[in-house]
């Protein structure tokens, strides 16, 4: 018994836990991760590849599936940059300026998080649908929003717009406006101040917000489902297409498309890790606090 005790006195740091505690905690964390994340992920891929690679490939290049993949990417490509611009503008306005209605704006930003996605979709149907408020006018001018790509983009933007702003607001609040003021006294214009000082200071937060926004934009189901109309090959995004295939007992195809969604998510995460790894030294130098 005296052995471990002297070892303790000899110099184990106060915060070091016994080996069995370490092992238990690690096992718990890894077990959880494996059961809830890795296992389903593996499940998706095994189901998708059950009939072999060629069936898997055929399921993906099948015209309707391919259209769904293209549509999902198109929606994300429009919605994510739009929300990036909006998120930066909102965070900038809220954290660097005082204006009436500021707290109202702050509350409104959270609205898409608190409202059910189905309602978010329904709002656009009520506004722009055939019997909606703007319906007759849109019909007379030959503009189709609901059950078409514009409706999908609108619903996706609505659902994903808090991500960037929510990520940036606390960050910019913590940073204050000292550096911007310093830039201005040194002769920088408003745009130079934003590009050279504000933007570099928030870029990691921005990247994270954009990634989250992108993940949700590609994966959104509820709101998109309401405005889509489920027209195969035209208004079905990937999540909607997965559901249709699944309901038709076409499991291999459903999982193949699902695996494609998972791959897109993994690529996004990989891109983030790669950026963090490449800029690791700078990141450590500029975010560590004293």
């Amino acid at each position: 018994m005296s052995g471990p005790v002297t070892q303790n006195r000899a110099g184990r740091p106060a915060l070091a836990e016994p080996l069995w505690v370490k092992a238990l905690v690690m096992l718990l964390a890894l077990g959880f991760l494996g059961f809830f994340i890795l296992l389903p992920l593996a499940g998706v891929f095994t189901e998708a590849l059950r009939r072999g690679l060629s069936t898997y490939w055929e399921a993906l290049v099948e015209p309707d599936a391919f259209a769904a993949i293209k549509l999902t990417l198109l929606v994300a490509v429009i919605a994510v940059p739009a929300n990036m611009v909006f998120g930066i503008a909102a965070a900038w306005a809220i954290t660097k300026h005082k204006f009436p209605g500021k707290s109202l704006l702050l509350t409104l930003i959270d609205l898409p998080f608190s409202v059910s996605p189905v309602i978010s979709g329904l709002v656009y149907v009520l506004l722009f649908g055939a019997h909606g408020l703007a319906g007759p006018w849109l019909r007379d001018h030959g503009i189709q929003i609901v059950f078409a790509v514009p409706g999908l983009v609108l619903a996706t933007m609505f659902v994903t717009f808090p991500f960037v702003a929510r990520e940036l607001i606390p960050l910019m609040q913590a940073q204050g406006s000292d550096e911007e003021e310093a830039a201005i006294t040194l002769g920088a214009s408003g745009w130079q101040t934003f590009r050279r000082v504000t933007l570099p200071n928030i870029r990691w937060g921005l990247l994270y917000g954009v990634l989250l926004c992108n993940a949700r934009a590609m994966g959104e189901f509820g709101a998109v489902s309401v405005v889509s109309g489920h027209i195969r090959g035209e208004t079905n995004t990937m999540p909607l297409h997965v559901e249709i295939l699944y309901n038709e007992y076409n499991f291999v195809a459903a999982f193949a498309v699902a695996s494609m969604l998972a791959i897109l998510a993994l690529v996004t995460l990989l891109a983030k890790s790669l950026l963090e790894w490449r800029h690791g030294a700078e990141l450590a130098a500029t975010t560590r606090r004293h």
């Binding site: 000292d178 830039a183 201005i184 040194l186 002769g187």
Partner: protein, 364 residues
């Protein structure tokens, strides 16, 4: 710390203008509260001016208005004779050093100092080689050349302060403004940097205004001190003038006025208890008044005229000094004695005689 000063920048060779900054009845309100309330102040070319006051006295707001970070509601501000009341900050050519330095955290020391040169709106733009030369000269001046590649949070507080100063000087400002420049530093570094700032000011001759709440700092560093209270200037003068002849009770109190005692003014002297104490300032002609007696203007005396009896409450040796808390008719009197020249130190409870050498007296 005795660096070789580079030749003063061209900014100083411009045509002679007596007043660098001229402020007339400047007022700034936040809501209904006047943070700066009709201030007049002239700052001469090349002067080192301190704005001294407690928090909330309006000193930082005044500095920010000079720098163009806040704009006055009323009054005018001239910089080198040019109207600058509503001029944008970049057109004022001022350098501003922020209380917490506000260094660009994502830029190296070099890039921080180069920032003002890179964003300059002059044509043609400064060549990269010229920027590099200028930045390295400045980093040499602030003795941080070896740390040019570091990021701000890899520096100590004193180093950051020097980077902030080099950055502000890079654009060759007409006026250098510093907000609580030593506030966030520990005592030893603060003392070093004070001397160093004075040297830099001497070397470059740029008009400098700094804000502080530390009276010792203001008196030690500045050519002239403006003492602010509730958005107004109470007194402007050289450190000796404001210390020796405080114009108001507030100034006297703020500059270490010492003990405050009720007195009666009679025949040009302050009557405290039965003791007549010489008055140093322009006191009210007669009647009840308030006397301020500085701790080192009090000495122990065994006998003689104009002696006050007080009881010793606390004796505290602090370095070369002996600090006493005394009880005079229920009022606390603070005295400081020289430890070496005090043969027998008083003990708590002892009754001692006090002679007050002089007092500043103000209407109560």
């Amino acid at each position: 710390m005795a660096p070789n000063w580079p030749p003063p920048p061209a900014a100083i060779d411009r045509k002679r203008i007596i007043m660098s900054i001229s402020i007339k009845s400047l007022t700034k309100r936040f809501g209904g509260f006047a943070a700066v309330d009709g201030i007049d102040l002239d700052i001469a070319n090349g002067e080192l001016m301190a704005l001294l006051g407690p928090s909330g006295s309006g000193k930082t707001t005044l500095l920010r208005m000079i720098g163009g970070l806040d704009f006055a509601d009323e009054g005018t501000l001239l910089i080198e004779g040019e109207e600058a009341t509503v001029t944008a900050p970049h057109a004022r050519r001022v350098g501003f050093v922020f209380q917490h330095y506000a260094l660009f955290r994502h830029m190296t020391v070099f890039e921080n100092v180069a920032f003002g040169l890179r964003v300059a709106r002059r044509k043609p733009k400064l060549a990269e080689a010229a920027i590099k030369q200028k930045v390295m000269d400045l980093l040499e001046l602030v003795q941080l050349a070896p740390l040019a590649g570091r990021y701000p949070n890899q520096l100590s507080g004193g180093q950051r302060q020097r980077v902030a100063l080099a950055r502000a000087l890079a654009t060759e400002p007409r006026v250098l403004l510093l907000d609580e420049p030593f506030g966030a530093l520990d005592a030893k570094v603060r003392k070093e940097l004070r001397r160093w700032l004075r040297d830099i000011h001497k070397g470059m001759g740029v008009t400098t205004v700094f804000v502080t709440h530390d009276q010792e700092e203001a008196l030690e560093l500045a050519d002239r001190v403006a003492i602010l209270n509730k958005g107004r200037i109470e007194q402007v003068g050289t450190p000796a003038e404001v210390y020796d002849r405080p114009a108001s009770a507030f100034v006297c109190d703020f500059l270490g006025g010492g003990t405050r005692l009720d007195c009666q003014v009679e025949g040009g002297a302050a009557l405290i208890g039965n003791a007549r104490v010489p008055i140093v300032n322009a006191a009210p002609a007669g009647g009840k008044a308030i006397a301020y007696i500085r701790a080192h203007d009090i000495e122990l005396a065994d006998g003689g005229p104009d002696i006050l009896q007080a009881r010793v409450r606390l004796v505290q040796p602090v370095g070369p000094q002996l600090r006493l808390d005394l009880d005079f008719n229920g009022q606390v009197v603070e005295a400081v004695l020289d430890r070496d020249s005090t043969q027998t130190a008083p003990v708590p409870g002892q009754l001692v005689g006090l002679r007050l050498r002089q007092a500043n007296v103000y209407a109560g």
